[in-house]
């Protein structure tokens, strides 16, 4: 149990998938303009990542390894992730149409989000078992959501201050991301 807690703290704070490993920048900059879309995106990613982590682990260990086709890992994982994202899209469109509108193109872009594939591969590379994989995936996604919410909170306030014209938009977003990453690096050595 303590291991799981340590793992989760590591995944959320110390090795934050976004701020420490720099995976998943695209929706980070693109969706973090308002808090509502950021939380929505964060939840969607949690759902997709957890499921993806679980299913890809299963596919890897019960399909790829027995058949000796580990080299097809990337293709197989992408297939799984794409299907999951499509599925999530359908669910969101049905259950929360407003969120679906707000996320727009960024929802299907979770497919190509390197955070999802990255976590799936880290699960395999670091040799986690199924339960650990699920926890790790969940925690990474929570870390992603945390970074996203932090960013959204800051960016919402950008509208109220004087930003030099050449920095407006993505530029100041990336500068801020760098500063938050710097702050998070203070967690190094925590675990």
């Amino acid at each position: 149990m303590a291991d799981f807690i340590l793992l989760m703290i590591s995944a959320i704070l110390v090795n934050n998938i976004l701020l420490a490993r720099f995976l998943g920048n695209c929706p980070f900059v693109g969706v973090s303009r308002s808090m509502d879309t950021a939380t929505g995106m964060g939840l969607a990613v949690i759902f997709v990542l957890t499921l993806a982590g679980m299913i890809t682990w299963l596919v890897h260990n019960y399909l790829l390894i027995p058949l000796n086709i580990e080299y097809l890992r990337t293709i197989a994982f992408i297939l799984v992730i794409a299907t999951l994202v499509q599925f999530v899209e359908m669910v969101v469109q049905k259950t929360a149409p407003a969120l679906y509108e707000a996320l727009g193109i960024y929802l299907p872009l979770i497919t190509t989000n390197c955070a999802v594939l990255g976590v799936a591969i880290i699960n395999i590379e670091d040799g986690y078992d199924l339960i650990t994989s699920i926890f790790f995936s969940f925690a990474s996604a929570v870390g992603f959501a945390l970074a996203l919410v932090l960013m959204a909170g800051i960016r919402e306030r950008f509208a109220l201050v004087n930003i030099p014209k050449s920095f407006e938009g993505t530029a100041i977003g990336l500068v801020t991301a760098g500063l938050i990453a710097l702050a998070f690096s203070g967690f190094a050595g925590l675990v």
Binding site: L63, L67, A76, M90
Partner: protein, 682 residues
């Protein structure tokens, strides 16, 4: 291998099943319109429309938040398809293209800049911001080329960016990214409303032209043989090149930079050359006409100001109607300028072209008698332009003016314009020094007068008439008495027989800057005359305007807020031309008409009638070139003319027009000036 394929295939099938089932469970009703629009869009998700992806754009279009032309990559085909789906009709707007506003690269730009005796850097910095090279010049490093999302820009041979008109979609990315605003979006609609600013590269000639014609551009087009494009360029600022090419006193040539070393470029005759080609081929160039706006404008006065205003308003899609008091259109062009300078057939051809853009006409209809400003408003006109000109003339103010044979200058020429009989005796005296006086004198010579004398109270230097007119009158045998003014008219049996005049000498300058003539006491002389024509000035008639509530200035001209906008004291009523400035030249009226059309268009579109920031005024500080270096020497071509013998007793056009060779030679002389740059040899 096989296992791999089967495994991946297996995952694929499971995925497909899952998605198929869930799409039935989680079925969402999607608006078929949005679906159709999304299918029409290219699906590239390029983001040029400003939306995150094609599906968002489709939704926005369906909801009405974006216009059907939002997709920039799709082009007009996609726009029309989407319009079809939405069931709206599309008025295709004139497409914008990018245009570079600088013609010389860094090497060619003049790096020599003389500061005219300034010896302190701070003072030099106050003059033109201390640039050593023109402030406005293109830096030729190609940022716009890299930024263009459609690859429509490339660096040309001259080192400057070149626009590929087929690929340019008018998205405006280059305009936003250029740090100096040199590459901008342009279209005919924008150019016909253009007023020059100090932020763009202009040459002295185009700034001096009261109509603002892009002179270096049309001369360049003549040089490369693209005559029709040259006519189009001219008509973006002046709808009457046939007329102006014959009668304009060309202030542009006075300021032509080539004139510093050589004779100035024969700008005006080149204009006439290309306009004549269009007329002789009888193949009118029809410019772009914007979609109908349904707005009606009443144009009071069918002279150059009114015709110009009507032309540009029609091009912008409005419906102008000209109300003209005389039987035919043309104003002073028809009723003031004689046939040998501007044949009526030529003027008619030009006016027909203007009317063909969609202008209605009501002749023999005078303001004050047949309609008033109020009646125009009641008839539903959305705006009014007053271009009533300056038709009033003054008498000489001497004894004997009521004798028979005394002809007021304007009436004489107006009667000629009305094709009335205007017999003159053997000896005619014309009083005055302007073009009207010379026109009257040369007309009398053609009507058979044996001795035509022009009396002017100042000297030749102060005479306001065009030099060429004075020269030609001299060739035709007209005598000039300078420093002479009439004092008494004497006659027998009520008919004029003699004129007494007094000699003058020049004293101190008056308000106009010209030296005041002072009569020399006791120097009266008497000459025999049969007719005397007084052409000593023309003034606007404004009584009927004042009755309608229009305010006038102390010189009895219409008062406007700014000559470049033409706004009068009444909202929706604009004015321009001689009625505002006092008697002036045709091209000034034409320019005023175009600028008033711009103001009226802005007024009707609900925008403020203001001038662009930094528009050029007489006080604007612009770099000047005092010396020319490294130019080849060439002589100006001379306009071929009818010999004096061939001119006698007829009104055939005197100037014959340049030949193609002469035009090519003359166009090659133009230095294609920028603010500071000009074409150097070698």
């Amino acid at each position: 291998m096989l296992a791999g394929m089967l495994a991946i295939g297996g995952i694929g099938i499971v995925a497909a099943l899952l998605l198929g089932v869930s799409s039935k469970i989680f079925y969402v009703e999607v608006d078929p319109v949005i679906q159709e629009i999304a299918e029409t869009l290219p699906g590239a998700n390029c983001g040029a429309c400003g939306f995150a992806g094609c599906s968002s754009c489709a939704k926005a279009i369906a909801k009405g938040k974006a216009k059907p032309d939002a997709c920039l990559s799709g082009g007009p085909d996609v726009t029309l398809a989407i319009a079809g789906i939405l069931g709206v009709s599309i008025e295709v707007k004139e497409p914008d293209t990018a245009r570079l506003g600088c013609w010389y690269n860094l090497e060619e730009a003049d790096t020599k800049f003389t500061y005219d005796g300034v010896k302190d850097c701070r003072a030099a910095a106050m003059l033109f911001d201390g640039s050593k090279v023109c402030e406005i010049g293109c830096l030729t490093l190609g940022t716009c080329v890299n930024a263009c999302p459609f690859g429509a820009l490339s660096i040309g041979d001259s080192g400057l960016p070149v626009v590929n008109k087929n690929l340019c979609t008018g998205c405006g990315t280059c305009e936003q990214i250029c740090p100096k605003g040199i590459i901008t979006l342009t279209s005919e609609t924008r150019r016909i409303q253009h007023i020059y600013t100090t932020d763009e590269c202009t040459s002295p000639c185009q700034r001096t032209c009261p109509a603002g014609i892009d002179i270096p551009e049309y001369i360049h087009q003549i040089k490369i043989g693209n005559y029709r494009q040259a006519v189009k360029t001219i008509r973006e600022s002046n709808p009457m090149p046939l007329t102006c090419g014959r009668v304009c006193p060309h202030p542009c040539e006075e300021i032509c930079r080539l004139g510093i070393e050589e004779d100035p470029v024969n700008i005006n005759h080149l204009k006439r050359f290309v306009a004549d080609i269009e007329m002789n081929a009888n193949d009118r160039i029809i410019p772009y006409k914007a979609a109908e706006t349904g707005k009606t404008i009443a144009i009071v006065g069918g002279g150059p100001a009114g015709l110009s205003a009507a032309y540009y308003l029609a091009r912008l899609g409005h419906c102008p109607t000209i109300f003209e008091a005389m039987p035919k259109l043309g104003g002073m062009l028809r009723y003031g300028i004689p046939e040998y300078r501007l044949p009526k057939a030529t003027l008619d051809w030009e006016i027909e072209g203007i009317l063909a853009m969609g202008v209605s006409v009501k002749t023999n209809t005078a303001m004050g008698k047949d309609f008033t400003l109020q009646s125009l408003k009641d008839d539903g006109f959305d705006a009014v332009f007053l271009g009533t000109g300056a038709w009033d003339s003054r008498g000489l103010g001497v004894e004997g003016e009521d004798l028979k044979g005394v002809l007021p200058g304007t009436h004489f020429l107006i009667d000629r314009g009305l094709d009335k009989e205007t017999p003159v005796g053997e000896r005619v005296a014309v009083v005055g020094g302007g073009n009207t006086a010379i026109d009257a004198a040369r007309t009398c010579w053609r009507l058979g007068a044996k001795e035509v004398t022009v009396l002017y109270r100042r000297s030749r230097k102060e005479m306001p008439a065009n030099d060429i007119e004075i020269e030609e009158a001299g060739k035709e045998g007209v005598l000039f008495h300078y420093l002479a003014a009439p004092t008494k008219l004497m006659g027998e049996n009520g008919k004029l027989t003699q004129l007494e005049y007094i000699e003058m000498e020049l004293g101190e300058p008056d308000e106009s800057g010209r030296r005041r003539p002072i009569p020399k006491k006791g120097s009266e002389k008497v000459i025999k005359v049969d007719n005397i024509i007084a052409a000593i000035g023309q003034f606007p008639v404004t009584d009927f305007l004042k009755d309608n509530g229009v305010t006038t200035t102390k010189w009895n001209t219409i008062e406007v807020v700014n000559e470049q906008t033409g706004q009068t004291n009444i909202e929706g009523v604009f004015a321009g031309g001689d009625s505002v400035t006092g008697a002036s030249i045709a091209v000034a009226a034409i320019g005023a008409g175009r600028k008033a059309a711009r103001s009226i268009h802005r007024f009707l579109s609900g925008e403020e009638v203001t001038l662009p920031d930094n528009s050029i005024t007489p006080d604007s500080k612009l770099p000047a070139v005092e010396e020319l270096t490294a130019i080849t020497h060439s002589s100006r071509v001379k306009m071929p003319e009818l010999s004096v013998d061939d001119r006698a007793m007829n009104f055939t056009e005197v100037e014959l027009g340049l030949s193609q060779e002469m035009a090519a030679d003359e166009a090659a002389r133009c230095l294609r000036c920028g603010l500071l740059c000009y074409r150097k040899e070698g």
